[in-house]
Symmetry: D2
Subunit: 361 residues, 4 copies
């Protein structure tokens, strides 16, 4: 596992919880944690339950049964490709890469390797999202016509919030677009289908921020927010938006899908709920997706005993690691990751050109 910050903790926790909650998950050893700062790395390995540490990923990517790349975006391509070339399955956080070229190389490497290569689109694993997909596939909403996805946070609304790799185009590729929008685009593809073309601007409100370390300021070279209109290949239309400067929104990822006969609404801040309007409803019905026969719920608690954000990672890791153990296919895979990246890239291009841009296929 490369990375021991936010995502490292989320995945290490997920792996640790499998034996108690997911009966048919494979046995997993947390073997080696990779990072640069030896002292911090050792402390993290101890806390996260890893047996050993490494400061150079080159030494280990061919030596493990699976490689998790949880580093900043610019650290995704090289180690990931090396692992895949070594025949090591990879789970890589999203977006695949800062720029499209890196993502393409990664997807090529995954196509050449005969091992699972997954992307960390954990919101597919929210039970309410899976339940929404079941409703859509069962035709409960009729023909899908419209997707609305919006991911709002406020952690950069304070102009004194410091710069980081997440505000630097070189390392992150983009801002709210890649950080948050990648999730929304993935859900759009998961729930509705491939995206054909996009139109949309990105915006930066705060041009420089206090440097992450030391004194002075750093330029903000990524977007604070984006919005986009999209057209799906199946004719459905949609709108996307994300912001890291939306006052009062902590982690508000909302998705709405409308069809010719029904609709669903979801908000990540209330992730146990799905609002459903089916053919028999007059208004939206608030379904608490916590019954034993709801997706992934057989692993957890009695109805109404809600899950949290982190549980999506448990489901994700159970699926990915089972695929690794079985040698079976896993999705969302790098082809999905690349498809998302092409949408993100097309939005950036649309922003520059001021017109609709076809998504590369």
């Amino acid at each position: 596992m490369l990375g021991y910050g936010f995502m490292g903790k989320a995945h290490a926790n997920a792996v640790a919880r499998l034996p108690m909650f997911v009966d048919d998950a494979p046995a997993v050893e947390r073997d080696v944690l990779i990072g640069r700062d030896e002292a911090a790395l050792a402390a993290a390995a101890d806390r996260l339950g890893f047996a050993r540490t490494a400061t150079d990923w080159r030494e280990v990517v061919d030596d493990v049964d699976a490689f998790y790349n949880l580093g900043p975006n610019h650290v995704h391509p090289e180690p990931t490709i090396a692992a895949l070339e070594a025949g090591t399955p990879v789970l890589c956080e999203k977006p695949l890469a800062p720029r499209l070229a890196g993502a393409e190389r990664m997807a090529d490497a995954a196509a050449d390797a005969d091992v699972p290569a997954g992307v960390g689109f954990n919101y597919r694993y929210v039970p309410a999202i899976q339940y929404a997909k079941e409703l859509i596939e069962a035709g409960e909403l009729g023909d899908i016509r419209r997707f609305r996805g919006r991911y709002l946070q406020d952690w950069l609304v304070d102009p004194e919030a410091p710069a980081s790799w997440r505000t630097d185009a070189e390392r992150a590729g983009s801002g709210a677009l890649g950080d948050l929008g990648a999730h929304t685009v993935d859900l759009a593809r998961f729930l509705v289908g491939d995206i054909e073309r996009v139109s949309g601007p990105t915006t930066t409100y705060v041009d420089e921020r206090p440097a992450a370390e030391g004194q002075g300021t750093e330029a903000v070279t990524v977007d604070d927010a984006y919005s986009a209109q999209i057209r799906f290949e199946n004719g459905a239309a949609g709108t996307l938006e994300a912001s890291r400067v939306a006052p009062g929104r902590k982690n508000d990822h909302t998705v709405e899908i409308e069809g010719s006969e029904g609709a669903v609404r979801f908000s990540l801040e209330r992730l146990n709920e799905l609002e459903v309007l089916g053919p028999a409803n007059r208004g939206f019905e608030t379904v608490l997706v916590t019954e034993a026969d709801d997706p992934y719920l057989e692993h957890w608690w009695p109805p109404g005993h809600t899950l949290g954000w982190e549980h999506t990672f448990v489901h994700e890791n159970a699926e990915f690691l089972s695929a690794v153990a079985d040698g079976s296919a896993y999705s969302p895979d790098f082809a999905d990751g690349l498809a998302v990246q092409r949408v993100l890239s097309a939005i950036q291009e649309s922003d520059e050109r001021g017109e609709w841009v076809a998504v590369a296929q």
Copy 2:
């Protein structure tokens, strides 16, 4: 008053309620109701409290103290311009005209006439919207950065819902765009400022519908839905959307405004409420805008005794008729109506051209 359907009822009721609720409103006689079907017209005049009827607006528009044009969009220009040329104040429903040229002629006529010429943007008169404007003007939200407006209805989601002038481009000009979007664009201008450029598609899902009268079907020549991205002259950005085929949404006009320091949210289906996030809030605060010192509330009931949709017309008529009586200026006026129409027109043009379009000034 020309028109005795939905809007005729809304305005006649508003006028009738003034004496009991708005102390300083002028005394108003409901004089003459204009329509074509004499029998229906007579019944409506009786019900709505008009003294007499006329089947030709030409006979009366120069003979009244104020002329209300509440007919279908294609009936707006000619009688309105005639009234203005006769020096008669006009209140015209929105959008001003089916197409931009008509709206321009109307605005020219209003500019030449020295009388109030108002447009029926009644949602400016929701107390919660007025309260939002007060907060914005007081700087409570900081610099305004983003506007989100969405107006969703479902009365055309059934493909067997019949055609009408509202589904006919010749008479209506556009569909959800002009019918619903005009309101949203007006609120965007009212609350944030002038719109500089737009980008956005319109969509029609149901191409033909049962004819309104008789047998057979009629082509639907307007949009079922539109969405747009907008850029304000002051640098703020926004997204707009409307639909008449959104399952489960009855009259869901939502507006969100974000600034550098706060945000507000509004939904017409809960029009007595404004959700406010000011500098001192951690989360959104649901304010019931029904205190005696809230906008327009001194006319009504004790706190918490909620108003309905129709009350917006009472406030609107009180303001318009006071301007007529006083000879003072009234807004939203035809310049506002034209500005909205230019945005609608630019969205249609953007839909055709697939790129951002500057709004004519």
Copy 3:
């Protein structure tokens, strides 16, 4: 009409709106407004549309087609009984009287008179409440097991809010109990059935308040809040509560009803909505009760164009005045008013005795 304050305005407005909105309502003249202060009375009569005024109800109660008693509670019995004895139909605001004895005399007078005698339980006329009753009567909730009713306001939470007849036991009889609780008890009876016994305390938090006029303070001799448990004759159980010192609650009258197979929830602050859980629902469905075929909605606006608090009075007056015109029965009548008063009285007795008290029949 006796009284020209809050309730006078609500009823005068309702009567005035009948011709435009309720086709089959009888024609009604607002004839004579009764009060003591001649100057204020004349101004009110002018504003509320009454033809004449009177300062002594004795002179007019036998001289009108219907008498509205909208005065403070202690003014209810004598004029009401006189009107009934004169064969004049009466609509009296709730609660019937400050104390049970007065209510009994009024109910006796109504039983002896062969004219409609209605009580102002306007919340029966909320469309969503009527819709709930339809669901219950259709068996959608199964056997009714539990009723929860709660009416919270905050206008007395400030200890400096002045005293009035509403805080004086002599004139009001009780505080939150009679003022607010009367409504809740009526809805309990309307929706579930007769109440057999009760148990519950009343509480006063602020013992004295600034005098309404002049200087000094007045003792508060009524309750600020009450809560009660109830048992219905049909075996269902329930809880009641009201407060005029509940911070942040403006007019929050909530009702929940649970049966063996379903449930409904209602809140007056969102009076256009009913939350419904029927046999086919997983969770509560938010129904906007604004369709043309919903109760009383044929009189008003298209779906989603919401009504306000005052509309309940229009429905109430349409029903009451139709009964007067037709000589037909009207409910809620004085027998209902007495039944409610017996529950209120039993709660007061329970408060004194600290035990369950059977409601007199």
Copy 4:
């Protein structure tokens, strides 16, 4: 740990998660799991991470550093007392015992033992509840006047839901009252203070249910629902209610507290949120209690990345096991458990006597 069902899983998981999330929690070995069915026990020990198993608690309660009693209520007293007499710290699930006598003996044993004896009132450990307590203690709500607590579930609404120890008075003591009400009473005491007297009925709607095993039916000898009114020693008043037959409610534990200057509202189904009305608010503010400086949140994720129901157990175990390790005091302790039980018992007595009952001190 005695018990490996629902509660066993919740506590074993909590203990397992401490090292990764709670830096200063003591190291904990999951040593011995106690149960009767050897095969099921072995499987559970494997899944829950215990080193060994035992079928007789007598053999182990003096042999461990802490004893968790997570069995059915009737299994609480004897092993718990034995452990305490052996000087072993105990964490016992709620309610302490089926009947008051058992709880008293347990509290006596705890008083005699000089070790932590905790009761499983895990809802004290919801961050939003802790935050509410901070607000109350800081005086933000003024003098506390009213507590409303309600715990609704629906898992017994189906009359064919089978009997279990939870529907049997012998083993459970009571039904919704002890199972759910114990939590609510604890929160009332935690947030407001000691309860002086109570009044309230219990109700059983379904008298017999299919036997848990085999054929035929079993009598239901506990309540399906209860409601109560309470008076606190500090003069505040309150209402309590619980049901296991409330249609559509999965785990709806709501708490509202009103003071002279503010109020808070909480619902377990949205446990990351607290609705707050402080002196500066016009309406309730929805606070997402997920900031790093919110109670217990420093252990988890960035703002808005919500926690689930199970996290309350992590916080609870961190506190309890730290007390065990440090030899420090822990609360909620058995005195709290006994105080709750006295309230439950007084409610049962009130149900029988039909009057207010003083809570034993």
